[in-house]
């Protein structure tokens, strides 16, 4: 049967992709970010997941406000790299896992999560940055993926509690998969950032570290926070952190933390946490 073996919370800041494509990983300003993912890639290479469920948000690359889904899931055998407005990044196309995706959609809908199912999806930085930070991809990706897009752009957004429950339902779906399948789930976005208005660039390391503590040890305490409280702590764009709760909801209470990192050079708190289920 399917099994969730690990969970990762990570930021997906687009400038990380730009720095990566320009080969800036070893510069003093970027090392504190990129170095933290070296042991993560090694750890994942040893865990050998078959599939990564990537919980992310699209930033206007593939979805537009004419029809805007709250939860949209890929159910295809592959996903193209989107052009976000500055050309297409030099990354191999993403491998899907059609059979598992179809199972996941069926299980979630029957579990009362009314998804938008996508048989074509182009993925962008929200998805790609965590992918290339965590998984080897030369010459090709070492893991298949399921893109799982959440509306964190156009309020009303799903509540924090809803995101956590979605994660729990994803875990049930994975465990109901009839074949052996090793699944890692990533919750991406954040941490604190405010990208509009006179307080552009505002971050809050204290709240970010608190979130990292709680997502590991007491995720329940984050589930009843309203969007208002989340945005007052993390900024209007920092609301993306609700996607980490999808990941945490899919993990058991026995999961132990393996890696943790925090770096905030410019306008976004860049956080990382990894959790591993007992063997």
């Amino acid at each position: 049967m399917g099994r969730i073996i690990a969970g990762i919370g990570t930021s997906h800041v687009p400038s990380i992709g730009g720095a990566y494509d320009r080969g800036k990983q070893a510069t003093p300003a970027w090392r504190p970010l990129f170095d933290a993912y070296v042991p993560v890639r090694q750890w994942l290479a040893e865990l050998k997941p078959d599939v990564a469920i990537m919980v992310y948000n699209d930033h206007g690359a593939d979805f537009f406000f004419d029809k805007y889904p709250t939860f949209a899931v890929g159910a295809a055998d592959g996903y193209a790299i989107a052009d976000e407005g500055f050309g297409t990044r030099p990354l191999p196309p993403i491998h899907g896992h059609l059979e598992f995706s179809q199972h996941l959609c069926e299980s979630l809908v029957y579990n009362e999560f009314d998804l938008t199912v996508c048989q074509e999806m182009r993925v962008e930085h929200g998805f790609l940055v965590p992918m290339h930070l965590c998984f080897e991809h030369t010459p090709d990706w070492t893991v298949a993926a399921v893109p799982f897009a959440v509306n964190v752009l156009q309020h009303p957004l799903p509540t924090a509690r809803r995101c956590y429950k979605l994660g729990q339902a994803i875990r049930q779906a994975v465990e109901a998969y009839p074949k052996d399948l090793r699944v890692v789930i990533l919750g991406t976005g954040g941490m604190s950032h405010q990208l509009t208005g006179p307080e552009f660039g505002k971050m809050d390391e204290r709240w970010d570290q608190d979130f990292l503590d709680r997502i590991e040890n007491d995720p329940e305490s984050l589930c009843d926070l309203t969007h208002q409280t989340l945005m007052e702590r993390y900024g209007a764009e920092g609301i993306e952190l609700i996607m980490w709760l999808v990941m945490r909801g899919a993990m058991s209470s026995q999961a132990r933390r393996v890696h943790r990192n925090y770096y905030a050079p410019m306008t976004t708190g860049m956080g990382l946490i990894t959790l591993e289920e007992p063997a």
Partner: protein
Amino acid sequence: MTIPQRDRSRPISRSLVFDLQLSWQGYRVNKMCNSLTDPANRAAYKEDEEAYMERFGLSEAQKELVRARDFTGLLDAGANVYFLLKLGVVTGVPLYAMGAQMRGETYEAFLATRNDKGAT
């Protein structure tokens, strides 16, 4: 029971939160920005900005904000920041330059407030 998620009497960071009301207001601007994910459309925009804005049915007030590269004004008129980034590509105004404008600072003054400005 429905738990209210927002308190509109307490603005977030002295700024507007992008919601359905703003999204409706800024729909045409955002739709134009969204079209810039196609390289042919980016070329068409750079070729003739006025014609491009006309094609997407922008109002005169919206056109004026675009011409003035007034990103604060555009946000207040319902543009979404992630869509403005695409407009920034064709008009040569990257995110941090937009941010400096929102803060009412020069680009250099804004960079000086950062923990490590090498990570741009």
